[in-house]
Amino acid sequence: MSDRVNKDHSQVEEHLNALKLGMPMNGELKRELRSRFQSEPKSAKRKIWPMVAVAAMLALVIGSTSLGGLDNQSVLAAELQIVEQFSFIDLITGQYGPPAVHGEQLYLPVYDKGIYRFDTTSVVAGEGLTPVLDHRNANQVAVNHAGDKLAYMTSKGVYILDLNTGETRPAIEGDDFTIYYEDPVWSPDDQSLLVTRREIEWQVHGHKLMSLEIQQIDLATGKARKLAEGSSPSITSDGGLIVFERDGNVIVKALRSQSFWPWDGLRKGAEQTLYRGRFPRVSPDGTLIAFVGTKGEMRLFDNDIQVRENVMDVYVVNLKDPSDQKQITANYPFSFTDEREWAKNAAQGSVLNVNGYYSYYNPVWGSDSQSLYVLKSDHSGAGMRLMRISLAKEGLDQQALVAKWLSASVNRDTDAARGLMLHPQDFSATSNPHPVGYTLVGSGQENGLDYVDALQYVAYTAQPWYQVRELRFFLAQAGSGYLIDEVRQTADWQLYLQNGALYLEHTNELQRLLSLSKANLQEQELGAISLSPSTGTVYVSLRGERGMTIHQLQNGELSYLFAVGGEDAVISSLSEANGFLAINYTYSTELGRQSRGMLFSLADRMPVQIMGRADLAYWADDELVLYTERDGQVVRWQYHPQSALFKLWP
């Protein structure tokens, strides 16, 4: 009987464990906090490995300055500026494959679900995703140049979906056992597909790769011809060159003899190794190649003990001058092992391998050749996430750059924030207190250095603490744009509760704003508070018998504004800007604890009806950024209170 009871209990315990493992865990926060607590490593002997080896370019003969058939206007990869980067487009729960892009339409394969279309211009919050194909094994998509056909891969072959009629037909099929076709890419005339043909041989344990070749499939006849040995093909807009991956190298091959520099030494069928890297992809205008490369570094300790660091990043290279390149992501090494401690006890000749925090896969160009979509994963086990990086020859202006950085720090996108810094530092955007909004206030020069001033609003979750920081961002010229060189705090206003009174502190001046006992508020608790930087008005939330209420504080007197949620609501943060109060709060429902963001008009003294449902809100200058979560989708959108206009992709 006792055994039976224990067995029954063990089932309940198993289910509780399953429930626990199903709960989210933020691996990025884990890493950030750890690095904050970790002491600085002592210096070790450093040896820099060659970053990305430029191979055999010297063999090319210098000739004309343009490349036949391609855009004659030279684009310098190194001068490209990252004007926007964000990396938390958790569009839908599931395992993503690489997307395909046509204009503003993004096609995303989700394993076990199908292919979805996402309209990046949609203004309907939370309704961006539309199912296109219900096929649980569909993966790797490519949309043709006309935008009416979508090639996709399954384990059986490569198929073409007519986006107008919904009809599907095979382009080429394998046997779903030893021969597979993958990596479909459209030829410039949409008449053929380039694919990778993979042949394997099954063995007692696993399988052996027999061949990996790139084939061109004529869609009219169905005939296939071999173009090269390798995988991940991509083709220039004139069809003269293909770029692909073989043995970890990015290789260019001439489909016809080239007569223009730098490829004029390349005869038909000849190949040239460019870089160590994976997943090369030529931009639609034929001027750039994006690929994933790895930067290596080795640190030597006594007894021949080594730490080998390999950090993956996305690079863009100029197809007309492959020595011209730019790293466009800002990955960093990641390890839970303290290498100095490890080295003390490691055996002679031991090697510790350290990889980057992120892994990147399959960069895909936007139609305008100025944006890249990249899949990335991290150590949190959260699965693939999609990142969009916008590039432009002209960089962001100074104010826009600072706004991007502030926005990234508020929405906790450290990867994006680091990409805007001249000397990217490993910093945490998640902390308590944490930024909840910002306003740009001016710009100028100090000692010949350009700067932008901004106010950053910082709050402590659900607690009576608020700070307005005046920050000065010094900027450095980088190519044709700017990067942030240094951030300096020049002033701050701190609002906090101490010994039953609310104080405002600024440059060593302390002002008592409210005594809870004098205001007969002993029975209530002060929650989140806020300070308006423009009017100096203080807003406070109180927990009392009426639940959570929000008040305005002026001249030591509180005036009631409104109540939030039910009796058990908790306000996480308040922040005022432009005459509107943004409120984040949580409350209980039958489904459990829910979170909400809302907006209150101080002029009208009433909540503003915002389309859709927002789970989180913060100020990005004069616009409110809202997050909406629905059925596993998280969509970020932006609302301008004065004009009541919405847009996606802030």
């Binding site: 429930l19 626990k20 199903g22 607590f37 989180l616």
Partner: protein
Amino acid sequence: MAGFLDLYDSSFDDVYRYVYFKVGNKWDTDDLVSDIFSKAVQKWSTVRGDRRAWLFTVSRNTVTDFYRRRGREVPTAAVTENSSAAATDLAEQSLALECLREALGTLSQEQRELVSLRYFAGLRHNQIARTLEVSEGSIKMRVHRLLGQIKELVEKCLIE
């Protein structure tokens, strides 16, 4: 500090899920977990005894601070709504898990705390006893009874 990092590495996931279960959204969980470890690192040198149990006392107090009013019902998180793909799949596969979630929602605040500390925070009975300041024997008995109660609730739900 090396000792702190060991505790950090071994406890972070459990602290995160413990807080998530109580708060119900990622954003507030991120902030509170950051807060918990910042407090922990500041007091690290003064801590003696079972440090994992102490860390969860800090976690518990921080979450209570979030709700502030003593005695306020600390709700169960919307595990069903906000959980990851893995949990969603599990939910689809197992009606028992759905029933388990329902059962957790009917427990008292004290019982949910016990479930949370034992199964989401992964504390041993003696560590829970230190955190809640009651005897280990009492915790063992309560956990045993609680599992029986949850089992009954799940079975009832499955029949319905």
